[in-house]
């Protein structure tokens, strides 16, 4: 080595490179609502570009787990790391984290007093402080990508449920999040609108977006997910590849649950 400064390694700065570690790590997380123990020692690791589907009976804690990852629900104990960093407490740091973690809700929650375009541009303008010109251009591209560019000037209430949910996905994408959380994104939709939303989500998965999706749509899980996590009574009972989970569930709870949703 020709390095003149004796002993100095041509170093990669300290320890593991963040870009290599998992994107989301949930470690030993517990959460109570009063007496109710809704998350029990939950552990979950989501790699970059991975799509994880969370499935399980109603009341098993799927939404709570999802919402605790961007701290819409605070946890009692355990650690949640996003991109190697623990979730901040309330305040500006938390807001900054949330900008990197997208969320799509069952009931869309588009801002009712703003047009679709304004819904999509609000975050990039006010949180990221990008210029209006770039933001609007990107927003229109995103609306085009989810197939509702022609609805940009309308208000949420003027759109169908499927269109609203696609707008909500575009609003989330506009922040260029590292990961997007979906909490039953198709459960409030009429059957004929479910596929237009799932198609958008499948496209995102194919493009390498990291996604955590609470859904009972097995077709989507098979098509897009690398991991299916089965929850019951606040615990992760089983985690496996979609193929394995759906064809060969291990636990009785999972077998029971699958037999119920399959017969319908």
């Amino acid at each position: 080595m020709t390095d003149s400064k004796g002993g100095a390694e041509p170093s990669v700065p300290g320890g593991t490179d963040r870009a290599d570690g998992p994107l989301v790590e949930v470690r030993d997380v517990n959460k109570h609502f009063g007496e109710l123990h809704v998350l029990r020692d939950v552990n979950l690791t989501v790699a970059r570009g991975e799509v994880v589907v969370i499935i399980g009976p109603s009341g098993s804690g799927k939404s709570t787990l999802c919402r605790s990852i961007n701290r819409l629900e605070p946890i009692d104990s355990g650690t949640i790391l996003v991109d190697g960093k623990p979730l901040p407490q309330e305040g500006r740091d938390l807001a900054r984290l949330r900008a990197d973690v997208g969320m799509v809700f069952q009931s869309f929650n588009l801002f009712a007093h703003k047009t679709i375009l304004e819904n999509v541009t609000l975050g990039p303008l006010k949180v990221r402080k990008e210029s209006r010109e770039t933001v609007e251009k990107r927003a229109m591209e995103l609306l085009d990508r989810v197939g509702i560019a022609n609805q940009a000037q309308k208000y949420p209430a003027q759109l169908s449920g499927g269109q609203q949910q696609r707008a909500a996905i575009a609003r989330s994408l506009a922040m260029r999040p590292k990961v997007i959380l979906f909490d039953e994104p198709t459960s409030a939709l009429d059957p004929e609108m479910i596929n237009e939303v799932l198609d958008v989500m499948t496209g995102l998965a194919r493009d390498g977006m990291t996604m955590i999706v609470v859904t009972h749509e097995m077709g989507f899980a098979r098509r897009a997910a690398q991991q299916v996590v089965f929850m019951a009574d606040g615990q992760i009972v089983e985690a496996n590849s979609p193929e394995e989970f759906f064809t060969n569930p291990q636990s009785d709870r999972a077998k029971d649950f699958l037999s119920k949703i399959l017969t319908h």
Partner: protein
């Protein structure tokens, strides 16, 4: 006293200058108090929904004290207490100073009512709106300013109209703060030795003047409520 005396509008029109001057003073007071009470009410409502306990307590304390104090007392405290006794003045001209004390007293008082109307509006905004705002990274104050309050205001425009109508009528109490608006002018006229008949027409005229101020206010707020309603 004859019927012609009762319906003698002569003195009313003879003194129309003083009466119009009084109404102009009323309008100047109401307009500024409208703007200020809106600002004060919005700040108070923001305090009352803030995540910081001290701020919440401050907002709650203010509203409970001011809402339960008679307006006359608030205004007398401003003009006699703060201005005359403590010597807090706005200008060397006493008329100007009393005007500002009347504006502040009335705004501070009305602001508490605006706050409560607004807070009920905040309660009509679905929780999901705030969650969506937080989830795109808006801070608490940004969510409040950009998502919650705009929807809350739209929901309470009609009740706010009632608050403002009450405020316009409350301007008459400002006479207690040594501010001469239309009722002060009216009393001055009535006390003149030369004023012998036409008291009732004078009352009627002033009452009609208030109708002219208040009715359009009511219609305006009704129209605004319809126009800006948020569809869900």
């Amino acid at each position: 006293m004859s019927l012609s005396d009762l319906l003698d509008f002569g003195p009313f029109f003879d003194n129309i200058d003083a009466i119009l001057r009084g109404f102009w003073a009323t309008i100047r007071l109401a307009a500024l108090a409208g703007v200020f009470s809106l600002v004060i009410g919005t700040v108070l409502a923001s305090l009352r929904v803030s995540p910081v306990p001290v701020l919440r307590a401050a907002g709650t304390g203010y509203v409970n004290i001011v809402r339960n104090t008679p307006l006359t007392l608030v205004l007398i405290m401003c003009s006699l207490g703060l201005n005359d006794t403590l010597g807090l003045t706005f200008s060397d001209d006493s008329g100007t100073t009393y005007y500002w004390w009347a504006v502040l007293g009335l705004s501070g008082y009305t602001g508490a009512f605006v706050c409560e109307a607004l807070r009920s509006g905040i309660n009509t905004v679905p929780i999901g709106q705030a969650e969506a705002a937080r989830s795109i990274g808006l801070t608490f104050s940004q969510s409040l300013r950009m998502v919650i309050l705009p929807q809350a205001f739209r929901a309470v425009i009609a009740p706010l109209g009632s608050v403002f109508i009450a405020m316009i009528k409350n301007t008459t109490v400002a006479t207690a703060a040594s501010y001469s608006e239309v009722v002060t002018e009216m009393k001055t006229l009535l006390d003149l030795p030369s004023f012998t008949s036409g008291a009732i027409p004078l009352f009627l005229g002033v009452a009609a003047g208030f109708l002219i101020l208040v009715l359009p206010t009511g219609y305006f707020f009704g129209w605004l409520a319809k126009r800006t309603a948020v569809a869900r």
